[in-house]
């Protein structure tokens, strides 16, 4: 029997949800507001809220000083590339673990997850040296591979959870109809798993977009993505909060918009399998 919810309780819940939502959103809102202020207004005490002379000056300066398009393109390349490459590996891997498990499947899954527990800085030097040897420093390709490998455990785990939900009988039926392995994965499994695959892709694009340790450490000028673009506006001796805010807004805008339009998919994908 479903619990009855009184109107009053509903109103309270809604109110609380809004308050929490706004609290979480506040830093982004403040960054956005600050990006339209002058540097003096940005540090004003008491703070200025909405009533100031809105200016696009910071955006102009940032545009003038940095090659935003190049940073943006690098971010798209790295986030997109690492996700596509990762899916090419993760889909077959998750398929085999979900539908033809062996005694070791559970151990392999846990082992993969354990790599996420290693602090990244612990392997910085080995990877840096390998990159020097292979001439991959400051290359988008090298970074794409590293980001792909870092996110691979999450991709496999997510896909594995979705695939487990698909009844094996359907795959068996396809096999009886004469479908080979390729057809089975491509024409039967994939269409059914589309929501899961879509949310895995989305989450990985977001993770890769926001990744700031490897992208800062393995790039210099050519392959640097938007994370490096933001970092370049922080100053040890000088106040550039308004410009920093403008740069941050420009860096997070694309991914925020993507997240906004795909939030249904994202929420569904993230909560899928949570209520079994």
């Amino acid at each position: 029997m479903a619990r009855t919810v009184t109107a009053q309780r509903k109103a309270i819940n809604t109110g609380v949800a809004w308050v929490i939502g706004l609290l979480i959103f506040f830093p982004i809102l403040w960054t956005l507001l600050t990006s339209f202020k002058t540097e003096a207004q940005a540090i004003a005490d008491p703070p200025v809220w909405f009533f100031f002379d809105w200016t696009l000056e910071n955006y102009r300066v940032v545009q003038e000083r940095s090659n935003y398009t190049r940073f943006l393109w690098n971010s798209i390349y790295i986030a997109g590339g690492s996700t596509i490459l990762g899916m090419l590996v993760a889909i077959p891997a998750a398929w085999s673990m979900a539908f033809v498990p062996s005694n070791q499947t559970r151990n392999i899954l846990l082992w993969m997850l354990s790599t996420k527990m290693l602090p990244a800085v612990g392997v910085l030097y080995p990877i840096y040296l390998i990159f020097i040897q292979l001439g991959l420093l400051d290359s988008r390709f090298g970074l794409t591979i590293v980001i792909m490998l870092i996110n691979l455990p999450i991709m496999v785990w997510m896909l594995y959870t979705y695939f487990k939900e698909i009844p094996t009988e359907i795959l068996e039926a396809a096999r009886m109809d004469g479908a080979g392995l390729r057809e089975e994965i491509l024409f039967v499994l994939t269409p059914m798993a589309i929501p899961g695959i879509a949310s895995t892709i989305l989450l990985n694009v977001i993770l890769a977009w926001n990744e700031a340790f490897w992208t800062l450490n393995l790039t210099a000028a050519r392959a640097a993505p938007l994370t490096a673009f933001i970092a370049s506006y922080s100053s040890p001796e000088g106040l550039f909060y308004a410009k920093l805010s403008a740069a941050s807004t420009m860096a997070i805008a694309p991914i925020l918009i993507l997240g906004w339009f795909s939030q249904k998919q994202l929420v569904r994908g993230l909560t899928f399998g949570a209520v079994k």
């Binding site: 540097e39 003096a40 540090i43 004003a44 005490d45 000083r65 910085l124 030097y125 840096y128 040296l129 020097i132 420093l137 400051d138 800062l216 450490n217 210099a220 000028a221 050519r222 640097a224 490096a228 970092a231 370049s232 506006y233 922080s234 100053s235 040890p236 001796e237 000088g238 106040l239 550039f240």
Partner: protein
């Protein structure tokens, strides 16, 4: 047929190589400080004159330091010019990580570099990093508040003068004094060691035994702590350069002791509400101690060994740290915006002498002696740091203890006792 193919590909290859050589490009790592931004803006003139293209990698200070250290230690070859500080220059030069700048042309006039800066950036009498701008620290104070309190700030104050001024200016609206409290070897540990020097304390004796258990250290740290607790802003344990700059520009500090380079910010009417009522004084000392609490630092340009473009990099450094560059900035942006603290000739220039903080900046820099940072003899070089590779670790650990003290979590005695133990452990582990 085969021959023709081979010839064609050889021609293509040589064309590719030639175009690579023509479009010469330097990668420069630097920080986002105002003077560097100006350099970036003006650098198109350099490209026009030489045909050398520039790629700028601008990073947050700590990221920059980690990034260039990692690259230089592994010969990654990502950068042709690095912005480094006075701490790194002699250590890296000794390890053979930097190209000596002895090859700079005669016109560069290396003797014009301020002696303190040159000493701090050299190793075995060779310059290894060219100062882009240099700084010491000094007292910046509100002339209007001092006047209202009926006090006058001496040009060479003692700590007693500072304490009296802080007490007089302190009110509900204004904090008597703002000082660094945030943990970090480039944050509170740039400041506290200078206070220690001005009380006659030292980090190590001649045999590298840590001296933080000395009475001088206790006196210095207790004084600093009392001052910041009584007259400092709330939450001072989190304040670094930028936080204090913000407070001062808003008119919330009666005094602020920090880098001389801040003078051009606090006197800039576009940013600072107190721009026309700021006075400057030398960093203080304890009455009778022959050392003042001022540090010495330079943001300098260096060429990592192993760059493929040493010649072009040298050419850029020759441009960016030259006398002509200072004039170029003056012409475009005014004398107050010229990068300070690098060259003697700048301070001899009558136009620059009119800048309100020029004289006090020079006096502060000249008052700093990195070879004799405190009263007693020490085995190390450096004023607000100790120029050994272990320092960044030691400074970070000790800085945390002092920041905890400012936050009220421990007493000066406890902070010093723990810092002494930490330093001792680190030094023993390092084999001293």
């Amino acid at each position: 047929m085969e021959h023709r193919k081979a010839f064609a590909s050889a021609t293509a290859l040589s064309l590719v190589m030639a175009s690579g050589a023509l479009a010469q490009e330097l990668t420069i790592a630097t920080v986002n400080n105002g003077d560097m931004i100006r350099m970036q803006g003006l650098s198109s003139e350099f490209t026009e004159a030489t045909g050398i293209e520039l790629e700028w990698v601008i990073l947050e200070e700590n990221v920059l330091r980690q990034r260039v250290t990692q690259d230089i230690a592994t010969s990654g070859g990502q950068f042709d010019i690095m912005t480094i500080g006075m701490y790194e220059a002699p250590i890296w030069a000794e390890r053979g990580w930097l190209v000596s700048l002895d090859g700079l042309p005669e016109e560069y006039d290396v003797d014009d570099i301020l002696p303190a800066m040159r000493a701090g950036l050299s190793f075995e009498d060779s310059l290894y990093a060219a100062p882009f701008y240099g700084e010491s620290s000094m007292v910046m104070y509100r002339t209007d508040l001092m006047e209202a309190a009926g006090l006058e700030m001496p040009e060479e104050p003692t700590w007693d003068d500072i304490a009296a001024a802080a007490a007089a200016m302190h009110s509900d609206e204004v904090n008597g004094i703002c000082m660094r409290g945030r943990a970090g070897w480039g944050e509170n540990m740039a400041f506290i060691p200078t206070v220690a020097n001005s009380f006659g304390a030292r980090w190590f004796d001649e045999d590298w035994n840590p001296q933080l258990d000395s009475p001088e250290w206790l006196e210095a740290v207790t004084f600093y702590n009392d001052l910041i607790q009584e007259y400092g802003p709330p939450g001072a344990a989190n304040n670094g350069f930028n936080e204090n700059l913000t407070l001062f520009q808003q008119g919330r500090c009666g005094m602020w002791m920090d880098a001389t380079v801040a003078a051009s910010f606090v006197t800039n009417p576009d940013e600072s509400v107190v721009a026309d009522s700021v006075g400057f004084a030398l960093a203080p000392n304890r009455d009778g101690v022959d050392r003042r609490a001022n540090w010495l630092w330079a943001w300098a340009l260096a060429i990592p060994a192993g760059t493929q473009q040493e010649e072009a990099a040298m050419e850029f450094i020759n441009w960016a740290t030259s006398k002509e560059y200072l004039e170029l900035v003056a012409e475009r942006e005014g004398w107050a915006n010229v990068p300070p603290g690098s060259r003697t000739s700048l301070y001899e220039n009558p136009n620059y002498a009119e800048v309100p903080f020029a004289d006090m900046t020079l006096r502060s820099i000249n008052a700093a002696d990195p070879n004799n940072p405190t009263v007693d003899p020490v085995p190390y070089v450096g004023i607000q740091f100790v120029a050994i590779p272990e320092w960044s670790g030691i400074g970070t650990l000790a800085g945390q203890e002092f920041s905890d003290m400012v936050a009220g979590r421990q007493t000066p005695e406890q902070a010093l006792e723990r810092a002494q133990a930490l330093v001792q452990d680190e030094m023993e582990a390092a084999g001293y």
